[in-house]
């Protein structure tokens, strides 16, 4: 479980996240919604500490991943990132073959000593995202030659290959065509049986379709959080009501 307590993030002089308190339950899909610039992506990138690469970032508060504070305890960042997979907005294959893309994380984390095990593992993860059949016979060809939808599924397979506990998805379907988006969306629903998924989305309909929990953010603050049914059907906060009715976006 990931638990955030009183998290404040400043980037240079800007207060980006303000007193964020939120819990992401296990084996469920939590969608983070809110208007552009409200801090959704910053929150997501804090969970795997990719925020560290931003110049002038300061963090206060606690982010507990499985009970360990990843901000103050001197947590091993590379191990944390292995545990928390990321699928970004635009598919981003590494400049290598389809096989090597999936094998890359396994190799750097030294997961297998046996090459045969690695091949089996890569194929298993390509199969999990429905890509194995589609790339049969060209698994050693450059990943950049895949279609955008296939590339995004490859990125998901690459994240799954390092056996994470959590998957972060940053508007993972927004750059895809409707059919590919539906395929990826269905995959997330299937994957929640084994992984805790935290998803930033701009599409309310998508959140409505797949979310178990919803976190609504506005200007760096968490305005409302709770089970999807409750937030969508009976929002407690006036701002949430306005956002859901399209008063602002």
């Amino acid at each position: 479980m990931i638990e955030i307590k009183n998290l404040n993030i400043h980037i240079k002089d800007n207060h980006i996240l303000k007193d964020v308190n939120v819990t992401f339950p296990e084996k469920q899909i939590t969608c983070i919604i809110g208007p552009s610039g409200c801090g959704k992506t910053t929150l997501l990138r804090t969970l795997n500490r990719l925020i560290d690469s931003v110049e002038g970032v300061r963090m206060d508060g606690q982010v507990l991943v499985d009970g360990q504070d990843i901000i103050h305890s001197g947590a091993e960042i590379t191990e944390l990132r292995r545990k928390i997979g990321l699928v970004s907005q635009r598919p981003c294959p590494l400049p290598m073959s389809i096989f090597d893309n999936v094998a890359y994380g396994c190799r750097i984390n030294k997961m297998f000593k046996n090459r045969r095990q690695l091949i089996y593992h890569v194929q298993k993860n390509l199969k999990a995202v429905g890509l194995l059949e589609e790339v049969k016979g060209r698994i050693r060809t450059p990943a950049a030659r895949l279609s955008i939808g296939q590339q995004q599924r490859l990125c998901l397979a690459r994240s799954l290959a390092v056996q994470p506990d959590y998957i972060l998805a940053d508007e993972a379907t927004s750059a895809l065509d409707p059919i590919s988006a539906k395929t990826v969306e269905d995959l997330f629903v299937k994957l929640k049986a084994d992984y805790s998924i935290i998803m930033v989305t701009h599409t309310l309909r998508q959140a409505l379709r797949i979310a178990d929990n919803v976190v609504f953010m506005y200007l760096g603050e968490v305005v409302e959080t709770g089970p999807a049914n409750q937030v969508f059907n009976n929002p407690q906060h006036e701002l949430t009501q306005k956002y859901l009715t399209g008063a602002f976006s």
């Binding site: 110049e55 590379t78 990132r81 981003c92 890359y104 950049a144 990125c155 994240s159």
Partner: protein
Amino acid sequence: MSIARKKRFIETVAKIFMWAAMFIVFGFVISVLWTIFSKGCKAMSWDMITKLPGGGFYIGKEGGFLNAIVGSLYIVGASTVLGLLISIPVVFFLNVYLTKDSKLAYVARMAFDVLFGVPSIVYGAFGFTIMIYFGLRTSLLGGIIVITLLIIPIFIRTMDEATRNFPRDILDASFALGATRWETLKVVVRQIAPGIATATLLSIGRAIGDAASVMFAAGYTDSIPTSLSQPAATLPLAVFFQLSSPIPEVVDRAYAAALVLTIIVFVLSICGRFITNRFSKNKV
């Protein structure tokens, strides 16, 4: 004149200007090659590229300039490897470890720009001073060090330009899998491989053709160096010394040496393009 006619007129003038510029550049390349080939072929023989200079070679007698060919290849090969080993980590540090707004990166880039423009004779003089300080004589090692210093700014600035357009998402994708910055270097190198190949070609072109710096640092000899402490001959100096001779046969041999130099650069360029194409197939 109507607007449409005016646009057509400007278009035609621009096209003529571009064709003329192309013609000048192309004509220049052809005339250089023609001069080297026509004059160099006269003196070119198997002996020229397989034999060392014999007694009286520089007054038109028997022998060849194998010493200069081997010396140039030694110096260029070693300095290219050294240059790459030093430049890749610098480029990586500038682009991955330092942030975009880093003052250190700004100062470093400015310094490399200045070094890029420093004439090679200055590198030669600098190398010479250092060698005197350490009590070294003109040698293959001196040549390698000076040429490495000469090409490092070329390597760094060319690779840096290729790396600055590197998609940051790729770095995040690698970090998000638990990779360290050092492990991510492999990914960066794969992505900028065409840039590295271009930088290598430019550096080799500069290194193999430079006479001024090696004159001070590597010296000249009629034999092939068997250790790093011995002086080494180079093709540009072979051209330089023979071209200033009053004997026509020796002047023709200078063109033959220039021809060999051109062919080496040409072959390396083709190899470089081949390697670039091979490596860039995975580029995202």
